[in-house]
Structure formats: structure tokens, C-alpha cells
């Protein structure tokens, strides 16, 4: 067993873990934070995406021991006492989820994307979320939600979130 020390959403945590324990299980089972989902369990779908020191990571493909000394953000850490994170607000306003299973991972991936590129084009967003699968929405509203969050975070005019009927 390895003793590890890490932060989740700003809170210091310690755990005693077997080397083969995956980070996603540490988060879901040891810490009972079930906002981080397990989808494919094969590094494909992105439902388990969290931020490790600000970098989006698939928690099904990281060992819990590798989190030692790291700062982890999960979906539970996005909202503050003041309200929703802009990305959450974007997903709500743009109807960017249906079943919601991919949403936590999708939002955390978007947070890093917007951190690096505050005003991404549609193409950059689509490449940026290419490691996150959504089987409901067809992605269009997710793209809008990320544009909305980007605009909100840089203080620009918010884009329309009305669906386009063609």
C-alpha cells in the first residue's frame, strides 16, 4: 500500500492505495464523489475526465498513486458559493446535455480548452473535445455552450443559445 497526499477541489486528502487502483475509482469510491463517470473504461469516451494540475486527464487511465502531490479538479469543484461556473451556465443555457452522462467530463475538458484558448473557433472546439463522446446531442449545442462560456469568461457579448431550425 502507498500513502498518498493530494488535493481534490482545493481540499487536502490522504489515502492509502494499492498501486493498481485507478484514479477514477479513488475519486468515486474512496471519496464518494460520483460526478466523475466511468463510460468506456478504455480511454476512449472521456466521461471520466478530470483536471490534474489544470490538465484534462482520463481518470480511468491514471493510477491513483500518480495523483500523489497533485491538485485535482472534478465537476463537484466547478460551482462556487456565488453560483455556477460559466461552463455550467453555458451547458444550461444552450441545452448542451440530454442524458448528462458525458457532461462532467465534457465540461472539464472545455475548462482546459478555454484556459488555453479563450476564444476558440468552432473547428478548434470540435478538435478540442474530440476525446469526449456524446451520444445524445450531436455536439452542436455543446459547441455553443463552450462558445457561451468563453464569451462569459472574457467578458464579451454572449452568443445566442437559441437553437437554429433549418
Amino acid at each position: 500500500m502507498h500513502e498518498i497526499k493530494f488535493k481534490v477541489n482545493g481540499v487536502e486528502q490522504t489515502a492509502s492505495v494499492e498501486p493498481r487502483l485507478l484514479l477514477v475509482h479513488l475519486i468515486r469510491e474512496n471519496l464518494s464523489m460520483t460526478g466523475t463517470h466511468i463510460g468506456c473504461d478504455t480511454t476512449s469516451c472521456g466521461a471520466c475526465t478530470v483536471l490534474i494540475d489544470g490538465k484534462s486527464a482520463k481518470a480511468c487511465t491514471i493510477l491513483a498513486v500518480q495523483a500523489n502531490g497533485k491538485d485535482i479538479t472534478t465537476v463537484e469543484g466547478l460551482a462556487t458559493a456565488e453560483g455556477l461556473h460559466p461552463i455550467q451556465e453555458g451547458f444550461k443555457e444552450a441545452h448542451a446535455l440530454q442524458c448528462g452522462f458525458c457532461t462532467p467530463g465534457m465540461m472539464l475538458r472545455a475548462v482546459e480548452l478555454l484556459e488555453k484558448n479563450p476564444n476558440p473557433t468552432e473547428e478548434e472546439i470540435r478538435w478540442g473535445i474530440s476525446g469526449n463522446l456524446c451520444r445524445c446531442t450531436g455536439y452542436n449545442n455543446i459547441v455553443t455552450a463552450i462558445q457561451y462560456a468563453g464569451a462569459k469568461m472574457r467578458g464579451a457579448e454572449l452568443p445566442s443559445t437559441e437553437p437554429e431550425f433549418v
Binding site: R20, T43, S56, A57, L63, N68, G131
Partner: protein, 287 residues
């Protein structure tokens, strides 16, 4: 899916890591980015008894031009290649390749050294290294040696890196204004291995003829393949459409793809031909 049990160590120095690898022997594996190894361990295709995590060893991640070479540290992550100024300005082949390797989350962790040391002809960097004429630095407890990329791959998942050794760096001749590079792979979807991939590096003479050519092929051969005849068909020529078509035809003939879910052998040879032609033209346009 949970991997089989193993012991884990994260040494802080290269010497400690080398000592652990020697001590544990052939059942030990190096954990770099882990995005090939951990999935294989979860599927129980791999069951190492010890993992030696080299992420805590400083000094293995860098991208720099020095002494006529581009040097890349083995632990340099794909995302660092993607975002590097030198790479973006001069080494377009990496920008082409990085975008097509797995997905953004995987590129945050996957390393160039791991991509090559894995010894998988389906990975993208081996072909890029072949095109660029790279050398691989292998370190053991007695020192380091440089191995040409052409002598690096031995077989499926086996390379010149022996037990108790670590791939520590890569170097390739620095490119100048007369060089152009490109890479493309055909993939069915984001994150898939290549149906076929082609890496090209072209250097021109002042008179517009081809001085040197490097062409590497991804996932159409048991080992990452240098398309030698294709290279020879270009050197010394004026790179006319006919010369390029001839080189592309040789690449299609000289590889050895398998029929599989990604396509038939015939289809893959056709794709090698098409992509080779396009990548040579793209590399020329970047000189």
C-alpha cells in the same frame, strides 16, 4: 477493469530508476505517459510485476536546437510538441502528427519517448523519426549510446532498448530553410490507429532539385518502414509529378499491410500511394 497487482516505485533520479530496472529484471516496466501501458494492463495483455514511474525524474523533457540537431527529451509530452514555438515554426511534421495522435487528454500525458519505445508499428512517431533520420539515446548504468532509428525496431513490441535500459532522448538533424516536412494518417475516427500513415522530409538544392528525402510509413508493415526505393526515386530529380508518382508507387509496393478491420491489403496499398503523393507535395510546398 483493474490491472493485475504490481509493485510501484517513482524514483527521483535516472540512476535510481536504472538500478530498480536492473534489480527487477524483465518483469519490470517503465511507466512514462502510461497511455499505452495502462490500457494494456487493464485488459491484462500486460502484467508487469513492477512499474518504475519515471515522471518524477527531472531533465527528461525539453525541445531545443543545438549543435546542428533538434533534441527532444524522451518525457516530452505530445501537448508540449503541439505547443512548442520551434516545432510550430519549423518542424511542421510534428504539428501534423500530434494533432492526429489519440485525443487531447491522452496528449496531455503521452510522451514521444513512450510512443517510440513501445515498439508498435501502428504508432505515429516511428515513421516521423524515420523521415527525419533521427537517432535514439539509450541509457543504462554504464552510460549512454546513440542508435539510428533504422536499427532501433527489432520486432513487435521489441526494440534496441534492453533490460535495465531507458530511452532518454531523441535527436535529428536540424532543418533549414531548404527543408520541408509533412505527416498524415488516414484514420477511421479520432484516436484510432492509422489505416495508413506517411511521413515525409524533403531537402532541396539551390537549383530546385531534391538533395535528400526521408519517407517513413505507419502501420502498413510489421515494423515501422523506411520507403527506401521511394526516397531514391526522388533524390537528384526535379520533383516533377512523374517523379512523385513513381516514389508513391514504390511505397505502395514495398510495404506489407495486413487485411483487417481498417481495410484490405489492396485498399491500404492504394492509400499509401495516395498519401505518399500528397505528403511529398505538401513537404515540397513547405520548403
Amino acid at each position: 477493469m483493474i490491472p493485475e497487482g504490481f509493485e510501484y516505485a517513482a524514483p527521483a533520479t535516472l540512476n535510481d530508476a536504472l538500478a530498480l530496472l536492473s534489480q527487477y529484471g524483465e518483469d519490470a516496466k517503465i511507466l512514462a505517459g502510461g497511455h499505452s501501458l495502462i490500457p494494456m494492463m487493464k485488459l491484462r495483455f500486460a502484467a508487469p510485476t513492477h512499474l518504475v514511474d519515471i515522471n518524477n525524474i527531472p531533465g527528461l523533457s525539453y525541445i531545443k536546437e543545438e549543435g546542428g540537431y533538434l533534441h527532444i527529451g524522451a518525457m516530452t509530452k505530445e501537448v508540449e510538441l503541439e505547443e512548442s514555438r520551434i516545432i510550430r515554426d519549423k518542424y511542421h511534421i510534428f504539428t501534423d502528427a500530434s494533432k492526429l495522435i489519440a485525443d487531447p487528454q491522452v496528449r496531455n500525458f503521452g510522451t514521444i519517448g513512450g510512443n517510440i519505445a513501445h515498439g508498435d508499428a501502428a504508432n505515429d512517431h516511428p515513421a516521423v523519426m524515420i523521415a527525419l533520420g533521427a537517432e535514439v539515446e539509450i541509457t543504462n548504468s554504464t552510460g549512454s549510446r546513440w542508435v539510428s532509428i533504422d536499427e532501433f525496431f527489432y520486432g513487435f513490441y521489441t526494440t534496441a532498448v534492453q533490460q535495465g535500459e531507458i530511452l532518454t532522448a531523441l535527436r535529428m538533424p536540424a532543418l533549414n530553410g531548404k527543408s520541408g516536412t509533412s505527416y498524415h494518417k488516414l484514420e477511421r475516427k479520432v484516436g484510432d490507429y492509422a489505416t495508413a500513415g506517411v511521413a515525409v522530409a524533403i531537402t532541396m538544392n539551390d537549383d530546385g532539385t531534391c538533395k535528400s528525402a526521408g519517407i517513413g510509413l505507419t502501420n502498413v508493415n510489421p515494423l515501422p518502414l523506411r520507403a527506401k526505393r521511394s526516397e531514391e526515386a526522388l533524390v537528384g530529380t526535379g520533383l516533377t509529378d512523374e517523379d512523385i508518382l513513381c516514389a508513391a508507387q514504390y511505397a505502395a509496393e514495398d510495404c506489407s499491410p495486413n487485411d483487417d478491420l481498417r481495410g484490405s491489403e489492396e485498399f491500404k496499398r492504394d492509400m499509401v500511394k495516395v498519401i505518399t503523393k500528397r505528403m511529398i507535395k505538401k513537404a515540397i510546398s513547405r520548403t
